[in-house]
């Protein structure tokens, strides 16, 4: 299944609900475009809900990192919410777990932006 992205606002934070795969050719570009679009519109608080992302490859991991650095360079803050076991394990393996702010529940994640 390709990547589906739904956007919603919670207390000034844009939450992107992602579901499907973030892989080369199946979601990496969509995610990149979505992040650039948000930042271009001036959004500075972005939360990626990965609870329904069942697969990510090295390209998808790279896209998460690029989203993080793009946001940071533009003065925005990008955090992650609800990792599946597969994504969690890969972030640990690649040490990217140390790069991101990661939350298990949405309320805590939203509160962390304040």
């Amino acid at each position: 299944m390709a990547l589906a992205i739904a956007s919603r606002e919670v207390d000034g934070v844009t939450v992107l609900d992602l579901s499907g795969r973030i892989t080369l050719g199946e979601g990496s570009v969509q995610l990149r475009d979505a992040i650039r679009d948000l930042i271009g519109k001036g959004q500075r608080r972005i939360l990626l809900d990965l609870g329904e992302v069942n697969y990510i490859d090295s390209s998808g991991l790279g896209e998460l990192v690029s989203a993080f650095t793009t946001a940071k360079n533009q003065g925005a803050n990008l955090k992650l919410l609800k990792l599946t076991k597969k994504v969690h394990d890969l972030l640990q393996l690649t040490k990217l777990y140390t790069v991101f702010d990661i939350y298990d529940d949405e309320a805590s994640a939203i509160a962390s932006f304040k």
Partner: protein, 130 residues
Amino acid sequence: MESVGQVETAADQLASEAGLDEDQRFHIAMAVREAAINAVLHGNEYDPTRQIEVSLENTGTDLVFKIADQGNGFDPDHLPDPLAAENLLRGTGRGIFLIRSLMDEVHFRQLHPGTELTLIKHLGQRGEET
């Protein structure tokens, strides 16, 4: 890139038939997918006149996957370490690291032209992972 999906599916099927659990199937399918992507993108440089060659085998003791491209080759011993602090925020360069991390053995062979990767996952006596 259609061939990459086919290779990934075939690897997952072989792992499933060997009785491996979901986590192990995921690791194998991902490693084989990464190798196939490397072969198409970095090896063959997306040149449609170049082919990738893939073989998959359950030897009874191992699952063996061979992925060969027709590119210019590379030195697997001199790749940047994606875990190093200076590389952690790079958007690329994790494919070979993931392959090595997810499989039991990974071997590289230069073909002149091309590179062949052999990915091995050890099995127990009854086809289950050791």
